[in-house]
């Protein structure tokens, strides 16, 4: 198949913003996007399948399913309409061209619905386990066009440290912006700081990201029930963590033979 975009319904959207959240560090992007999907009155309208995803099916709610990306829309009466993209997995292994192919198809959908701005959500691990973050985790930002930074100057997004400390973004979260820029779209990346071992789901960091998205889009998403909502997602998040660990093992060349053998059908 390579990469396949299945549009289930053609919603009527005005100048929408696309918000992406894939699994990754602390699952920050995925949780933040899924929380907004659950909170707002969104509706699923498209799916993306790809042979660049891992050759794995998830078993959930007693059914097997291919790994996929899902697109939801929200008609915002008071402002810009929104498209949310969440995924079960990053595209393929690091270093493969799969990442590019999948991002192209996402941008094809974005162009079809006249998206001119993309916000990608992810996590950034400081690598410090147990570090004190008294003022809560920071949210680092990066943009496709430097003149955008001015627009967000009162949002609390930290742009300064992104350039000097991070220097590069790996995987879908960054690539989608880089490729959007090449197509003439604007993009903003928000990365919630997460302390400690980065594969552990970090709802606190996601909260910081949602707060900023809610603020800059002026959509008033309350954060009280974040913890509860994340608990509801927990069973599925555990599966994603399992997937990510498998994926890590593959990248590393793998050293846990027993573990691997237990999975191969």
């Amino acid at each position: 198949m390579e990469t396949e975009l299945n549009i289930i319904e053609e919603p009527d959207l005005e100048d929408p913003v696309l918000i992406e959240g894939l699994p990754g560090i602390g699952n920050v992007g995925r949780i933040a996007a899924e929380y907004m999907i659950k909170h707002l009155d969104t509706k699923k309208f498209a799916e993306l399948y790809s042979s660049h995803f891992m050759p794995i099916v998830l078993i959930d709610d007693d059914e097997v399913s291919l790994l996929k990306f899902e697109f939801y829309y929200w008609n915002n009466d008071d402002g810009k309409d929104l498209i949310f993209l969440i995924g079960d997995s990053q595209a393929g292994k690091e270093g493969s061209s799969g990442h590019f192919d999948v991002a192209e198809k996402v941008l094809d959908l974005a162009e079809k619905f006249n998206v001119s701005r993309i916000i990608t959500l992810g996590g950034y691990s400081t690598g410090d386990i147990g570090e004190e973050m008294e003022e809560g985790p920071e949210v680092l930002g990066a943009v496709t066009h430097s003149e955008m930074i001015d627009e967000f100057k009162d949002s609390g997004i930290n742009f300064e440290d992104t350039d000097s400390n991070i220097g590069m973004i790996v995987g879908g979260t960054g690539l989608l912006l880089g490729m959007a820029k090449k197509r003439g779209m604007e993009g903003l990346c928000l990365m919630g700081e997460t302390a400690g071992f980065p594969i552990l789901t970090d709802p606190k960091s996601a909260e910081g990201v949602v707060e900023i998205v809610s603020d800059i889009l002026d959509i008033g998403i309350p954060l009280e029930d974040m913890e509860e909502k994340v608990e509801e997602m927990e069973d599925f998040l555990n599966k994603l963590e399992g997937l990510q660990k498998k994926s890590m093992k593959q990248m590393e060349g793998g050293d846990d033979e027993e573990e691997k053998l237990r999975y191969i059908g």
Copy 2:
């Protein structure tokens, strides 16, 4: 070539069920499927070759042959006709898109013969060496559509533990179901529990799987000569185990240089 389907004969089949058994954990799926092929009056009617298989030829019965999948059919006078698929190998390395390409071609054949239900057979390793399994190994199940579970409620298949304990199926056994579902077919995966080191062929686990297939399809396959039949397959199964070990080494990045060098022509 990529993936090539060679249909040798076009059998007349009515609403057939496709039963798949590839090498994998404990070789449970391959043994179970091959045992049924040998027991029933089946006939080979198609082969599948793919450049996604490992660049290896097997030497068997004094002849070299490419790795391949083989399709057999059985005209069942008292019920649904059957197509069996057995293979020498899983498709390519984990993580490659080869798995998807090969599964697509298998489903092309399935559609051509109006298959509406697929049963994939595999093993599941508990990872417990020498574990006591007093009541014999369990058979875990997974389905493409949750409403199918009801149909199998008296079959002895354990669906409960699949969702919570397994969570995902890796490789052809799972992928074939996920992709069949996307084409509107129904699928059932049966995984025989196998204790101990998973690469060792486990006929006992395969017996449990055959028993359930025989029961749900009502085809009355006796199990007395299972052990004898598996002994006949032994020389070939050893070669498959060799292949699987090589394949594992590749996935791991490999650490046994000597071993590897001995094979490269």
Copy 3:
């Protein structure tokens, strides 16, 4: 490019036999084929380039060149004409589909010149360092069609141990036969036994292989100057060994960072 066949001259060949020798275990196949090319009055008539080869250029005779396969022909007044194929490298990394693509192109050339039989030459490592081989190294054989074995029953080729002890052939030497068989051609694989660490060039093993080829094709190639001819090839063979070591490192995932860094341009 993928894989590109450049035919320099179209020789007039009658029912030729194709003899292949690629680098591999003990470089047995490559040395044996190159020795025959140098001894007989052969002429180069085609080259094959592929993006499945490693992204490396060799520096030889003060010039850089891409890795390539070379085809030579020999008009045999007393029997079947011959085509020789030697290569600088096996195709790509193990596990990739590159091996298949390159073999297809070789067979395209074979079909164009009406080749109906292919002889592939390689080595087989016993893994025993310093093992005594009093009667000289054996030559193991494998065929595409079991009825061919009878034809070679007095040739001294050992077919018995191939099936039981080897069981599979990895890389071009085997794959070319498996794919030739699928196109309706006959094939014979000759593997010279080589003791010790397999990456070391083993002219003694190659001698045994040349002796058998000379005998079954009745082309009377003397072996006296084998050692001398191999010495002439030595500088180039050292480069091939360097290539093979690099290739091994890649397959292994690599552990010698220093070594690797020294090569990257």
Copy 4:
């Protein structure tokens, strides 16, 4: 996308020479080419993007950008016009066919502007840390056609040691020459010797390379401000070094899980 060449402006160039400098050992090629671009009155006229590059965006000058190659031209009133190519990265992982695809596109541009000679710049690590190089680092050379060596006999380029000591060139620096030769172009590779750990940027070695290029093309580039110019590039060079380390890790199969996890978006 695969590989995409975006020509921004079509300069009028007479029989230009293409000079390439990619990141690599000691970043010698990249620094040397970038220094000449900064010193001469060059203008950017084309970019190349490829899905064979790593799925990473760089954050520089407060903006995210895909990895890319950049082409600059210089109209030389007193001699041949020049095209400079610098890149953020080598193409893809070693062993992939990405290297070939990217090189083909570079040569497509070269042919379009009637380039008949290519000079590729790189480094060569002696592997000796702290080695004394009293007469400054040597510059080793390799050519596509041995008769070119005579032309450079008074240039101070060392051709003798290239054949015997190096024997092969890995990656874009070599491949571009090998493929140019196949298209009928001439090529020269200049490799600045660099002592010590090769991933560390080595401006001294680059100086030796620039001196020779300036000399053989007679373009009179002074070397006094080399150190200062390299300091200006430092922030970006640090990012390239980060990229190269990541790339190394991938080639090695990776062993620093923490490090890797910190990057995945």
